[in-house]
Point group: D2
Chain length 401, copies 4
């Protein structure tokens, strides 16, 4: 019967690695034999186990091994990783190892190499002692792509042994929770990341402008708390509309009442910025004198505006090619240690796709379904908050003032 | 062909009365002849029309007339209202006129009489020159119950000719709106109602406690802004739990983190109040020293706690019989001119059932479906807010401080 | 330092008992020493561990022990359960052991006794060798109520070692899943429960009638697949309205179009049944000739209609006192092994409160938040389905035809 | 005081044109004088009115006129439309008339000209007796762009005088409605559009595949009921994944259970199609033998797959540039008279942006918020259905079999 032996060590019980490995074995109908088991006898001791896996069917066994690797197991006495050349530009070899977003290492001839810029649904390319995570659009013919499960080691981000906001709320995302202290701790985390030299990314949806929270986001940017702003055409266009016409989607921002025929302010605002030559030019010419985009231009933070098929206009700075937009977002996310996603599903998912599980993420939306979807990153580093984005940003900016 | 002639006057076009009458005629396949039409030529002039309605089928014509009456039409040269005696206690005559929540008058022998305490889905009982709105549980054998459509005049609450918060947001309830000014205007409306001698009712759900907003509601009560509190066992029990254990449904209110085995605090809190002999007794004995129920007892405001089949306990003050609970709520709602419903669907619907369309209502919930359902009262006096209840109550209490 | 030693055995790793115990220790800031650990080496072998728990603070240690007990741990060499007399009717002793919905045993003088009719948020009363689960409303002065954690053993329902529908979908309730096979397996489970002599309960909300699914539920009842029907006034009233007027809440059930002034059909239907003397009498007199309530009366199944404060009417059979309604529901649920909750949050939560975790439950609603809330029963025996209740009942009745 | 006189004729009361005009006047604080009013005395007669509008402020008066035009009013004795040349490629003159999605005509020298391919948030370009609707990305320097409100006539799609599914459900989108007959009438509408030579467009989201409804959509395409398919990378990728691996997002489509490590099937499927050279090539080579994309390729229907920033891969046929994608969608939508949008917000909004209000649209989603958002098109030709997409497509394909 086909068999494989895995090893696993660390806080393997309370980080749910071992329970999930048993789950996988059961799901695929495999059997196991625990060859060795040493339990950590107290809080700081780690545990170790060696398990032999068996299944009648080699393909099913392969799937069990894949699942075990995702939980941090390593094949016993694994040989170095095997590579095959990419057959063409933009195409992986069929047997490519598909990455997760967990920190991953590859066993090369000279030992374990950490994969750079790990991201899910990519492949690993070995080259000159380095292991790079490469998207399918970026692979080049002949690249040495890691295939199969040998020589792979994943290190799932373990749950914190301390009580802290990250890794705690995810399983119980709820609008029915007190949020005050959570926001205060988030503010502390922002200061902490900056103190350690990390960068903070804000992924922002247009509801920030609709709800009148643009001023809070502007303040966060102006005061240096945001290093990277990822958004779409809508956030920027409504922000400009708010500055030029006092409305957002035709709603008067001072009182929330609709303005008949105010809907067209949106396209008029876009047209004016196109006439001005773009947001940067509009700030320089004095056409745009306040707001989120104004502060972002003034502060010189990194901004990526990614287009979408539902865009009006768009504004000149919006990147309309999606492959290019992903490349620009990837570049902007380098060094980011904390990512706050507010009131956008499209851009938040797009950003989440590009982030390592080790990056702390905060998902804020008034719709619990959105928060649940975003918070489900296979990571304990995610905090979901079901709340009004206006009150969230107001409180956060007050905590950081 | 069966026919009936109706008259209609007022701001009949822009209050949508006339369009809806045409809708009803079309829906039932009737025909009409506009016999007279005088349009108000400027803002302050009213319009008048007299329309003959026809339908092959008398029952369908009856339905058209019923729909027209709901929009404020009156049968031309209508005879006085017709009554039949209730056949038994708790049973209306089969042909009873079923009330709406709009202000309604009945033509008696001596002229039009306004129906007292109008409420939907009830009948009208005539007695000694008075017209009372009576629920089916409260009708007594022999009561003179109005039947048919003759002698009925409904006066739908017209849309305000001014831009104001009530009657405006309902059609476009949204989380994507600025809420600051709306809450400020609501605070002004609260002061205004009190200045005119009206009463303010708060209908409150347990999420107020879960989100840590109990302190804001306590402050609103302590400072005299609330006259009537309608709630269920859960609000009171979680409020007590928060005071005795610092948790709400086992969640630590200081940090939002769950406390293992903290769920049982809920039933322990209820048990202690039962042991103390009730909330009032617990305040007097010093067991309960703060919180929503403490402030309500201290301020001596009117409180009705209505039970439900999902209650734990319940607390001694909770009314477990539903017919009795409705009677107590009806009594408590007398004189209420503004009703704020926060984070409860069950109690908000129950309260809405008992209110005239002329009472201003504000529905606050983070779930847009709840707000839509509650705001759909056939009234322009309703304001729906999709937002976090904690931030709503915090802002409201700040505005009223 | 205060200490306690617990034992735990079974499939303690993959049923998540042990990970959750470590969680609880960490949450409360305790420490542990694993004194013994024997791992099940293959699928069918169980594991065993003995752990010493310590905490500086005795109260915190108490909370850790409470949490461990919920996961199936037992105090090492535990003495028999300790009791105190209930101080008054309707009041537990302050230190009462608060039950969970997991199967629970109590150590009496003569050995372990299984608690009858286990239900959460109750107490355990010992009497003549029996251990009964008693709600606070039902406890009598002097009853011997179990207090503290000694002599308590909880047996959490373990996850199935086979791939099956129960215990699988709960963690990932979703509208984006194929439902065909799940419904087919549910039909098989229904047949299976009946074959083993168990009973099936349906908890039904009024949307069943609004969506036109009444005919499917009627068929399920008529064909003997339902033994107990739990619902409220609304389901029954709309069912009657559909039979007498062809509408539900004034919507024509043949085409989904609203009927102007059709809203009053609801209260007219209720009035007619009140005039007839109730549903049973209306069936006997021939007034009611089809529908859910007609079939329930004809089949003689157990029906409990529990009132609520938002009810119109209500119908004569509706139990308006909530404590009495809970007692009647408890009685009706005896012997129920499978409970299907469709499109009702209020009655589903009320029923869930009364059920052992060992009873299989299926929660069906189009609102994912409702399904999430209902499916969160601390039990692997729960299946959540986010779908249209009409298509669910149609498919289920087709599978069982 | 600035003044303007408008004329309005048609079913101006029950199509809500006149009430909305009065609303707009009130909202902006204007005054009016009804100079003439002739009411249609019976069902088939139209009404006519001439109203003078006044406002102290010329800009506010301008807004009132703009709002009136959207409701079908025309300036009395209007001069021909005024044009200005576009200042640059991709930029409108600042005063451009911003289009709505309602059928619109422009008064040229030789009379009224109907605007071709009307679409909202665009401008109108006059050229050689033709009036074209032009997006800002497509305008060229020097194009004669219509500016201001003179010479503009909008003809809002009037509500049907008959009871029919379109224009009826929109105001009351609900999951709590019977859907059977509605789906049957939709099937009839599909046959009817085809009989008249119109085309049918399906906008499809990936939940169609996740829920197992791919087979129903495949059948609808294979049997010739769909002429245009608009979707994104996800629908096509999951459809291919379902064919190659039997899963969708790693969920086994036969039983809804997740497959550990099955998530990577998604990117493997994409890689294989990239290796094959695209969907068309994969069908030709026999790699792809069934499913939605297979049937679409076989039937030769028009397909536009528009990219998004969250895409994995994407598949070779996916258009990654958003401006190009919009152009391709516009071209594909020519001649479409009925558009069904299933389980996608992004692509449905994008498509809705490009459609005339005269095109019948059906929005199907299990999330009521999505349906509300999509159904809000200022058109009575929209039908919203809150339901499970699998049961919707199953029933629709059965009705059309």
């Amino acid at each position: 019967m086909p068999a494989a032996t895995i090893e696993l060590s660390g806080h393997i019980i309370d980080s749910f690695m071992l329970p999930r490995i048993f789950d996988a074995i059961m799901d695929y109908g495999g059997t196991f034999h625990v060859e060795e088991f040493r339990v950590g006898q107290s809080k700081d001791e780690t545990s170790y186990t060696r398990i032999e896996l068996r299944h009648d069917d080699a393909a099913q066994l392969h799937s069990i091994v894949a699942a075990c690797l995702q939980q941090g197991a390593v094949l016993l006495a694994t040989p170095p990783a095997r590579t095959e050349p990419a057959p063409r530009d933009g195409v992986f070899p069929d047997a490519f190892y598909s990455t997760s977003n967990q920190p991953t290492s590859v066993l090369g001839g000279a030992g374990w190499i950490e994969v750079e810029a790990i991201e899910m649904d990519c492949a690993i390319v070995l080259n000159g002692g380095r292991a790079r995570c490469v998207a399918v659009t970026d692979v080049r013919a002949g690249d040495a792509v890691v295939c199969g499960h040998e020589g792979i080691r994943v290190a799932p981000v373990e749950r914190s042994r301390a009580r802290e906001i990250f890794g705690f709320m995810t399983s119980s995302v709820s609008s029915e929770k007190p949020k005050h202290l959570v926001i205060r701790e988030l503010a502390a985390a922002i200061r902490d990341v900056h103190a350690r030299g990390g960068r903070i990314c804000m992924v922002a949806g247009p509801a920030i402008i609709h709800t009148g929270a643009g001023e809070h986001l502007s303040r966060l940017i102006a005061s240096g708390h945001i290093d990277v702003l990822l958004a779409g055409n809508a956030l920027a266009a409504h922000d400009v509309e708010a500055q030029l016409f006092g409305t957002s989607l035709g709603i008067d921002l001072r009182n929330g009442l609709p303005i008949e025929a105010g809907h067209e302010h949106h396209i008029r605002a876009i047209n004016r910025i196109r006439a001005a030559g773009g947001l940067q030019a509009a700030v320089e010419s004095g056409l745009l004198r306040a707001g989120v985009m104004y502060e972002a231009v003034r502060a010189g933070i990194e901004v990526v505006l990614a287009g979408s098929v539902r865009d009006d206009g768009p504004l000149p700075e919006v990147i309309t090619d999606m492959v290019e937009a992903q490349r620009r977002m990837r570049a902007a996310l380098r060094g980011v240690q904390l990512c706050i996603m507010c009131a956008t599903m499209l851009h938040a998912i797009a950003t989440g796709n590009l982030l390592s599980a080790a990056v702390k993420t905060v998902c804020v939306d008034i719709n619990p379904a959105v928060v649940t979807k975003l918070a489900d990153r296979g990571s304990s580093q995610t905090l979901g908050l079901v709340t009004d984005v206006e009150s969230f940003l107001r409180e956060l900016s007050e905590c950081l003032a």
